[in-house]
């Protein structure tokens, strides 16, 4: 099962087991000195959650500011991903192509559209190294 979402106009999906919740993107305190893809930190019920702008991380142009927050988790690490739209939750056909990417595990074709499958552990590792690819 995957959560399907949009970053700018592009379609992506995240395995549901990495998604804790979806929320409206609320007030975020910027963290000066961090990378351009770091939106800041968000108060998630008393927890300090780092929030990353997926469009900036992936280098995607977009017309409108992101307004949805995906709270993701893997092996005790948590992060918020700011995205343009969370479409729905559902199955995806098997990947048409696997990828050795810093952020994606591969891609799948769904309703005639290519959907990038976000690999949360890989994204976390890349963020922990301090940068986008």
């Amino acid at each position: 099962m995957y959560v399907r979402l949009r970053v700018g106009a592009e379609a992506y999906a995240l395995p549901v087991e990495n998604v804790l919740e979806v929320a409206q993107l609320g007030q975020i305190a910027p963290v000066p000195g961090s990378g351009p893809y770091v939106l800041g930190v968000y108060n998630l019920r008393g927890e300090v959650l780092p929030v990353f702008d997926l469009a900036k991380l992936f280098g995607i142009d977009r017309d409108v500011e992101p307004d949805r927050l995906l709270v993701t988790e893997h092996a005790g690490r948590k992060a918020g991903f700011a995205v343009s739209e969370v479409s729905d939750v559902g199955e995806l056909p098997d990947a048409v192509q696997e990828a050795e990417s810093d952020f994606l595990s591969g891609a799948s074709l769904f309703e005639g559209e290519l959907i990038g499958i976000i690999d949360v552990p890989r994204v976390f590792d890349a963020l922990e190294r301090g940068g986008a690819g």
Partner: protein, 664 residues
């Protein structure tokens, strides 16, 4: 030798017994032939830990026994075998250790001899090797008064994480209280009943917090036990006469901080003796008492503990002090840096520096600071400022550019107004009691963009490591004790913050690290250098492909396919980006481009490449979802070498085409 502290003996016994339990279990497993492959390593660690702790507490018999166990185990590890005949004597040694740990051990000379000969057998059956530790046993036959054996103390061992959790919860409760007050707002003042209950709650919460912090703290004296002996030995080896004076030994500190400061403090003592205190004759000639004094002093100041190591020795030479002043740095920085340099610096300074640098790094890791003061001929003192408890921090909250920041109260000297600002050599500064302090915008120091502050804006005079800065902000919100929350592993590469705190109104305040605020040039150097992801299959000789594609997913797929086939891959998001890259990197061997892209499309890119005489022969492959004959014609007319549809993601076709064109 000093009498071991009763409280520490209790802790040591608990830990030693736990280790001994583990040793016995493991030995029995070895005997039964069901031990894990790394069993010997575990045994070695256990014996080693007991030895170390016993050494610190001056329990020589325990240390000697643990040491000879360690020797036998090490020899077994080196010889690559663990004969089961070793189990029995080791078990007996463990039993003997247990009796000694309990304070009722019998002399163990025979056992030590036996262990030494076992070891010799392992090492090749030669002469029984006399372990140096075993040699010390004669002079310790009566191992001093049995250490506090009968003194039963009611203690329970609690996992440190549970205490941390408790303190965390207390912090959360404090936070909840703030939120509640925030919600109640003015009603607090209108209803006496509510005000009374809140007042009572405040006091209870304070007590609870105090109790929780106390569980995490230990007195300084819990680590100073071995210091007098260490000072005696260091002084004797250096030919100095030194009195060690310890004051404020009952000052409490977070045990995590305390545990990690033990070694740095010995460094500082060693420095004070070796590089501070003069030889007795020199002192006498200078009119000083023959014996120098090294003072270790601790005192609590609010949420901060100050630990000072002061000597009455020769001090840092005047020319060094002058040079430091000229360079506009601090003595602590200069000395710590000298520890690293190999040439040009006086060894005297570098000697002091090595230890000081370790101390400074350690203190700063906890949000603390180090200051060094010295007067030639009179002595040197090193002042460590450390937080009392790691999880709670007294801060002053300020607002700048719409963002709330917390600055540790311990680092703030005063709050001033900047209307009387002057300019010193082009830089704004404040004159405070005859001393000039540089002025900087807090937003700039933190690395944020903000409108310039107002004319009579408040400024905080922040001091750390002997440096000062007056940081200008918009408003001072007030003092608050906050729970420090880490920014977490994903923001680990961002430096300059002690963490973040959640405020009563739900906003997040970033907690600024004073030592990085006072460090010029502010924020520019604060971010750690970015670690570029290592190129996958980065063969230097492999042809380099430039993938031009606006969809991130397709870009990553193509990159992945090409890299897996051994190519080096660069990517660009559109035609213009691609031309930039081609200009910057003449080593690109082939371009694979999409057609439809913003800014400059694939057709225009191909035409631009063909129009450049230097690139007229650079192969270009157009990969697109558009498959009409018309498009194909346009692409080939623009000068593309190949045209393929990407609908199917046929990686074989892509690889074959690229391979053909780069002639591999």
């Amino acid at each position: 030798m000093t009498e071991p502290d009763a409280e520490f003996l209790v802790i040591f016994r608990d830990e030693a017994n736990e280790r001994l339990d583990h040793i016995v279990d493991t030995l029995l497993a070895v005997e039964a032939g069901r031990a894990a492959a790394d069993a010997i390593d575990g045994l070695f660690r256990d014996a080693h830990t007991i030895k170390g702790a016993a050494g610190m507490l001056g329990l020589d018999e325990v240390r000697a026994l643990a040491h000879s166990m360690e020797d036998v185990l090490e020899s077994a590890r080196e010889s690559g075998s663990f004969p089961t005949e070793l189990v029995e004597p080791l078990l007996r040694a463990a039993d003997a250790l247990r009796s000694h740990v309990a304070g009722s051990g019998a002399p163990s000379a025979d056992l030590l001899d036996e262990l030494a000969s076992r070891r010799a057998e392992l090492l090749g059956g030669g002469e029984p090797l006399e372990s140096p530790e075993a040699g010390t046993r004669e002079d310790e036959a009566p191992a001093g008064p049995a250490p506090a054996a009968g003194q039963e103390r009611r203690t329970i061992r609690v996992a440190a994480e549970k205490l941390d959790r408790l303190l965390d919860l207390v912090g959360e409760t404090v936070l909840h209280r703030r939120r509640l007050e925030h919600q109640l707002g003015v009603r607090v003042h209108e209803d006496e009943g509510i005000a009374d209950e809140l007042g009572l709650g405040d006091r209870l919460l304070d007590d609870l917090k105090g109790a929780a912090i106390q569980m995490r703290t230990l007195p300084l004296e819990s680590i100073t036990g071995p210091f007098p002996r260490a000072v005696r030995d260091i002084a004797a080896a250096a030919g100095r006469e030194v009195d060690l004076v310890i004051t404020g030994a009952d000052t409490e500190l977070d045990r995590v901080i305390l545990a990690s400061m033990s070694e740095p403090l010995v460094h500082l003592l060693r420095n004070a003796i070796g590089h501070g205190i003069e030889p007795p004759d020199e002192r006498e000639a200078a009119g000083k008492p023959r014996a120098g004094t090294v003072e270790l002093r601790a005192e609590q100041r609010g949420g901060t503990v100050e630990i000072t190591v002061a000597d009455d020795g020769r001090g840092v030479p005047l020319e060094t002090l002058e040079r430091v002043a000229r360079e506009g740095t601090t003595l602590a920085e200069a000395l710590a840096r000298a520890g690293f340099s190999t040439a040009g610096e006086v060894t005297e300074l570098s000697g002091r520096g090595v230890g000081l640098d370790a101390v400074k790094t350690q203190a700063e890791m906890f949000g603390g600071s180090v200051e060094v003061r010295s007067e030639p001929g009179q002595g040197t003192s090193v002042v460590l400022r450390l937080p009392l408890a790691l999880a709670l921090l007294e801060v002053l909250l300020v607002e700048r550019g719409g963002q709330v920041y917390g600055v540790p109260l311990g680092s703030i000297e005063e709050a001033v107004s900047v209307d009387g600002m002057l300019t010193l050599s082009g830089l704004p500064a404040l004159e405070l009691r005859g001393r000039s302090v540089p002025v900087a915008d807090l937003a700039a120091l933190a690395g944020a963009d903000a409108e310039p502050p107002g004319s009579a804006a408040p400024a905080l005079v922040i001091a750390a490591g002997g440096r000062r800065v007056a940081a200008v902000c918009d408003t001072l919100i007030g003092q608050e004790e906050v729970v420090v929350k880490p920014l977490g592993p994903l923001l680990e590469t961002v430096s300059g913050y002690l963490g973040a705190a959640i405020l009563g109104d739900g906003r997040i305040a970033l907690l600024l690290d004073p030592s990085s605020l006072v460090r010029e040039p502010g924020r520019a150097a604060r971010r750690r250098p970015e670690v570029a992801p290592s190129p996958i299959g980065g063969n230097i000789q492999a042809p380099k492909v430039l993938v031009v594609e606006d969809s991130f997913t397709v870009r990553e797929l193509q990159r992945s396919i090409l890299e897996a086939a051994g190519y080096r891959v660069e990517t660009a998001r559109d035609g213009r980006d691609a031309l930039d890259r081609l200009n910057r990197d003449p080593g690109i061997d082939i371009v694979v481009t999409d057609i439809e892209m913003p800014e400059m499309d694939g057709i225009a890119l191909t035409e631009a490449i063909r129009a450049d005489p230097q690139r007229s022969s650079l192969p270009v492959v157009i990969v697109t979802t558009r498959g009409s004959e018309e498009d194909r014609k346009r692409g080939l007319e623009a000068g593309a070498d190949a045209y393929m549809a990407k609908r199917s993601f046929d990686q074989r076709a892509l690889l074959e085409t690229v391979e053909q064109l780069v002639g591999r």
